[in-house]
Amino acid sequence: MKENSALERLYNGILKENPTFVLMLGMCPTLAVTTSAVNGLGMGLTTAAVLALSNLLISLLRGLIPDKVRIPAFIVIIASFVTMAQLLLEAYLPELNEALGVYIPLIVVNCIILGRAEAYAYSHGPVSSLFDGIGMGLGFTLALTGIGAVRELLGTGECFGVRIMPSGYVPVGIFVLAPGAFFVLAALSALQNAVRNRGSASAGGARDKGCGGNCLHCPDIEVIDLNGEEQD
């Protein structure tokens, strides 16, 4: 796949560098809102929309934004998109807005968005940045919906609000509580690591392991230390 092409960016965001399962970014909303599949989906799509738009705009403005004030500029742009998203949700999807609560405004400090702005959009063209945002956003959505679906299924016996488990099934309440989020996230991460490692072993090398979950070992992107800014 050609590097930085639209397709490569989508593949990168959804699978190779999935923000939740591989990069382990944005854990706070991941753990908090995934009490049901619908909540995960709503949170994921809202973040994806903000991420794609902020990536596009930052990439377009990258020649204009001076290096020294880039972080405040990014935050203003991201915060504006988040506020717009929140106003629109409040006006047209009030139920979802209520379910997601405080986590919508907190998208502003979601380190996936600031991370992609800094690591990708600020140094790449608008088209690949847009697709990078969409790819990362979809990867995040997929992960959140997956975690939400598993938690909802085990914790209430339903999936997307539809009863799946037989009526004899006693819901395991802990899965919709906070600890359940950790269990499910760990299990799904392990599962995808197992699949990934088997794939690369059969291909004859550990080279194609993505970045192995640690950005510091990744030679492709400029290493940035987000520890100072990551508030999520």
Partner: protein
């Protein structure tokens, strides 16, 4: 010389950042203007729907003048807006009282209490709750229906099965929620006794 150059750079950076924030502010203003009306409509619909849940036979709800602006604190709970439930021909069916308590296990519980003019509880519904899922979160399905149709001055909760009119079955494992919920209903009833009953 270098100093001057640096200062120029500083002004330029500040200018660009200012331009970005200004543009963002203007755009936000537009979106805010655009969504102002739909948001107000949603709010209105939410209140009407919530009030309808405690007074199913009422045709409309009218806000009682002067309520909700300064919250009244009664028995650890806060009384907010009060609405009059009106029938089709405008007759008074009762009152809907907004009660907020912060005594819950996971943040504020906001509920609506429907009271008939004679003091009988017509219904209780939950506006906002963030208790433990599976335990306190069941307040709406377990606790709320128990109050309806009873005429007492205050409720107490029991864990061994309610026997008398003023007793409520607690949710097992969620005593804090049950206590907060019952107290909130009691606060609403006291408010009704003090401020609304004599108006009849």
């Amino acid at each position: 010389m270098k100093n001057k150059e640096e200062r120029k750079q500083l002004w330029k950076n500040a200018g660009i950042l200012f331009a970005i924030t200004l543009t963002a502010g203007i755009l936000l203003g537009f979106v805010h203007e655009l969504t102002l009306e739909p948001i107000a409509r949603q709010q209105e619909r939410r209140i009407q729907r919530a009030c309808g849940a405690v007074f199913a036979d009422a045709a409309s709800f009218e806000k009682e003048e002067g309520t909700g602006e300064t919250p009244v604190i009664l028995e650890n709970a806060e009384i907010g807006e009060v609405y009059r439930a009106l029938s089709v021909n405008g007759g008074l069916l009762g009152y809907v009282i907004t009660v907020t308590t912060s005594e819950g296990y996971g943040g504020d519980i906001e509920l609506l209490l429907g009271v008939r003019p004679d003091g009988t509880v017509n219904g209780v519904s939950v506006l906002q709750i963030s208790e433990t899922p599976g335990l306190g979160m069941r307040a709406e399905e377990v606790l709320a229906p128990q109050f309806a149709g009873r005429q007492v001055s205050s409720f107490t909760y029991v864990k061994t099965g309610a026997v008398s009119e003023d007793q409520i079955d607690a949710i097992s494992g969620a005593t804090i929620t049950t206590s907060a919920f019952t107290e909130a209903v009691n606060a609403g009833l006291s408010y009704f006794d003090e401020r609304l009953k004599e108006a009849e």
